[in-house]
Structures are given as structure tokens and as C-alpha cells.
């Protein structure tokens, strides 16, 4: 990645504004995810409304950033690292927006569980741990983007394997619960959806990290085995 300045300072401004907006959007998504986890543990379902509200802002930012990317391409015909940055950002915002959607799904699921008078904590299946791991992945992916740090991006990609394994173990436990006591089925299914949403957030963090590697090194590592990192 090239940090020296363009002859056109306006171009530099355009690109740095673009990066700032992505980080802003990332910050919002991070807040959504952590608020959703908090609601799951504490039953603070008042925060669900705020999470849904934030999602609107995230959607607006996605559109605004994509629009900026289109303008930069049309006006500047970026090449090399500039081109990779613009292309990478355009993909990153898609993943961020979807991660935000998943947070919204979690929040709504949490609200349904508590409104039905159930306590998800009683199921004791390690959702909290899974969620912390996914949240860390999102944070680190955004960090890797901000600092154009490929080793960190590679860490995030590796972490996704653990999150996937944990997700599967949660599903197994919930199936056991449901078989033992059919009264737990409704809540168990809600928790499965929540776990699935968390696992998807991890996937989005992984995709973002793959784009960071593309931006910095020009290598497309999507759909490759971890070994290739």
C-alpha cells in the first residue's frame, strides 16, 4: 500500500475521506454487535430499538460510500494500490452492512426470548463466548483495515475456524436440550438463529480481512485454504 501523496491533493482528500467513512461505518456496526450481545446477557431489551435505529445509519453509509467509490473511479481512474483500495472498500462495506443486519437479527431474537418470559442464560450453551470471539474478529478486521496490517488480517481469518467449530458445538448442545425437553424447543430455535447470526458476523469479519490482504498485497486469497496465507 502506498502512503506517499498524490500530485493531486484533492485525490488524497477523496481517498482519506473514503477510509474515514468506512471506519465510521465499522464503528457503528461494532456498537450494534456489542449492544446485541449485551442485551442477550442482561435482558436489556430497551437497547433493541437503538440497534435497529443504528442499522438505518449503517445502510445510509453503505450507499454513500459506494457512491463515493463510483465517483472516484469516474473522476480519477485509480490504478494499482488506489484501485485496489477503492475496489476493496466497495466490498468491505457490503460485509459491514450485512454484519449490521445480523446484529439486528440477534437483537430482535433476544427481544422475543425475553418477551416470552424465558432466560437464555439458563440454556448455558456458550453463546456469550461465541459472540465475544466474533466481536473481536470484527474489531481486529477493522483495525487491520485502518492500519493496512496483513498479519492481523491473517489472524482474523484463522480465528474464523474456531468460531465455526464453536457454533457447531452449540448446535449439538441445543439439539440435546430439545430432545430431552420439548418445552425448550421454541427458545432453542431462537438461540440457534442467534448463534447462526453470530457465526455469520465472523464470516463477514473474515471477508473484510481478505479484502485487506487484497488492498495491501494485491493477492486475492478468497476461497483458498488457510495454509496459503
Amino acid at each position: 500500500m502506498n502512503e506517499s501523496q498524490h500530485l493531486s491533493s484533492q485525490f488524497d482528500d477523496d481517498l482519506s475521506r473514503l477510509r474515514t467513512h468506512v471506519l465510521q461505518m465499522g464503528g457503528l456496526v461494532e456498537t450494534q454487535v456489542s449492544a446485541a450481545i449485551e442485551a442477550y446477557s442482561t435482558g436489556e431489551i430497551a437497547s433493541v430499538k437503538a440497534i435497529v435505529e443504528t442499522d438505518r445509519k449503517v445502510n445510509e453509509l453503505e450507499k454513500a460510500i459506494d457512491d463515493d467509490c463510483a465517483h472516484i473511479i469516474a473522476k480519477r481512474q485509480p490504478t494499482a494500490s488506489d484501485l485496489r483500495l477503492v475496489l476493496g472498500i466497495s466490498k468491505i462495506v457490503t460485509d459491514l452492512e450485512r454484519a449490521g443486519d445480523e446484529a439486528k437479527k440477534i437483537a430482535k431474537g433476544v427481544r422475543r426470548i425475553y418477551e416470552n418470559g424465558h432466560l437464555p442464560g439458563q440454556y448455558g450453551v456458550g453463546i456469550r463466548h461465541l459472540a465475544e470471539a466474533a466481536l473481536t474478529m470484527i474489531r481486529q478486521a477493522l483495525d487491520a483495515f485502518a492500519r493496512l496490517d496483513t498479519p492481523q488480517a491473517a489472524d482474523v481469518i484463522r480465528a474464523d475456524t474456531d468460531v465455526d467449530a464453536e457454533f457447531k458445538s452449540i448446535i449439538r448442545q441445543l439439539i440435546t436440550h430439545m430432545m430431552e425437553d420439548p418445552r425448550t424447543i421454541t427458545t432453542s430455535i431462537e438461540i440457534i438463529s442467534i448463534a447462526r447470526a453470530i457465526e455469520r458476523i465472523g464470516d463477514h469479519a473474515k471477508n473484510i480481512s481478505e479484502q485487506v490482504v487484497y488492498i495491501v498485497e494485491g493477492r486475492d486469497i478468497r476461497h483458498t485454504k488457510e495454509k496459503a496465507l
Binding site: 502506498n2 498524490h6 485509480p78 490504478t79 494500490s81 488506489d82 485496489r84
Partner: protein, 259 residues
Amino acid sequence: MQIHDKSPLKAEARNLSFYYGEAKALKNINMPIYDKKVTALIGPSGCGKSTYLRSFNRMHDLYPGNRYEGEIRFFPDNTNLLSPEVDPIEVRMRVGMVFQKPNPFPKSIYENVAYGLRVRGENNKRVLDDKVEHALRGAAIWDEAKDRLNELASNLSGGQQQRLCIARALATDPELLLFDEPTSALDPIATGAIEELVHELKKRVTILIVTHNMQQAARVSDYTAYMYLGEMIEFGKTDEIFIKPQDKRTEDYITGRMG
């Protein structure tokens, strides 16, 4: 820097250096020119790209004090174009050139194209007619010129004149065509026509083009070479150079981080 490509070579610069008197304008250049491909030379003003281009048809011979070192091998016959035993006139028959500004001769459209053939001793009217038409068609100007072949070439528009110059260069069936910023004096429409033509021409001739317009290099060429201060900094497939250049200096130039 050397890329491995199975395409056949049309020419190859080997340890090529060039001096304008004492000044060393090209420094030890090694570069392949692939057959029936378009190779673009980019780099800031004064980097030596035009000097390099002109070496291919011995244009520097016209001025005293100029000196070459190294060689430019021309294939399939493996001739060293720069060898003193090789006649520059012969070289220019095989290596045509199109300049920045259209420079038709103050003659008719027909005679502009026929000129090179006449120099070669071709005087048969029917042969000339055929070859003139073929060249004008090849340069995508036949339809516009066919009813005015006896008009002065200077009556044509700038873009048409440039295509006429391409036709003139094509008339002698060159194997390599050199373009020295062929569209810098043209409007975007005429530029588009020339770029389209370059794309057509590479079916039968190898092309080496100097351009200041990086997007043009990206659009028309298969290979791109970045030159700086008389050196070949990076040579590679155009697709790779514009997305992932290997050298920081190339990156800085194509992303507009230096003049």
C-alpha cells in the same frame, strides 16, 4: 523483471545504451517485444521512451554524434537493427513510424500512401492502386478518402491525417510499427478511432507505442514498460502493471504520485 512468456519475439533490446554526444539517454535496456502484440512505453518526460522508440528504426542516425551500444535483435531473421552493416533504409521498410503530429507530405492522399512503394521502385499502376487501397482500408480511412484520392492530404482533418500517416506506414508492409504519442494532437473521438485501429492492426503487425496517456496504455497495450531516467524500471503484462506493479517507482508514476 524478465517475464516468462511463450509468445514469439518480434524484437529484443539487449544491453541497449544510447548517447546523444556525451549524454547517456538510455542505460542498458533489456526488453522483449512480442510478435503481434502491442507494447506501450510509459514514463515521465525525458525518461528516454521516445529515444528508445526511435532506436528501432535508426532515426538517430540522422544526427551526428549519436551513438548506440548493445543491440536490438529483430526476428525471425535475428538481424541486429543497430549494426552498421545494416542499411537504415532497409530497417525503415520493415519498421514503420507514426509521429505525434500528423505529418502528411504536401501531396495528394494517393501519393502520400504510394510514396514508400515508389521509393522501392514500384511503378505499376495496378499494383500501386491495390496497395494504396489495402493500406487505406487497413488504416480505417478508405471510406472517407476513396472519393478524394487526388485531393491534397492537408485537406483532411487532423484525425484523418493521422490515419493517412498510418496508411502510409502500412503501405510497405512493415513488421513493426512505432507510434510516438500518436493521439496527443487529436480530440477524443479521433483518439478513439486510432485506438480501435491499433487493436485491429495487431492482427498483422507488432506495435510499439509511446504514450503520455496512461489510460491509453492500459486500454490498447498487451505489455507495458515503465521507463525512468533512461532506465527500464519495470516491464510486464499491462493487466498486472496497472493493478499490481512490482516496483514502487512504477506504482508512484501510474497512481499520480510523481511528475
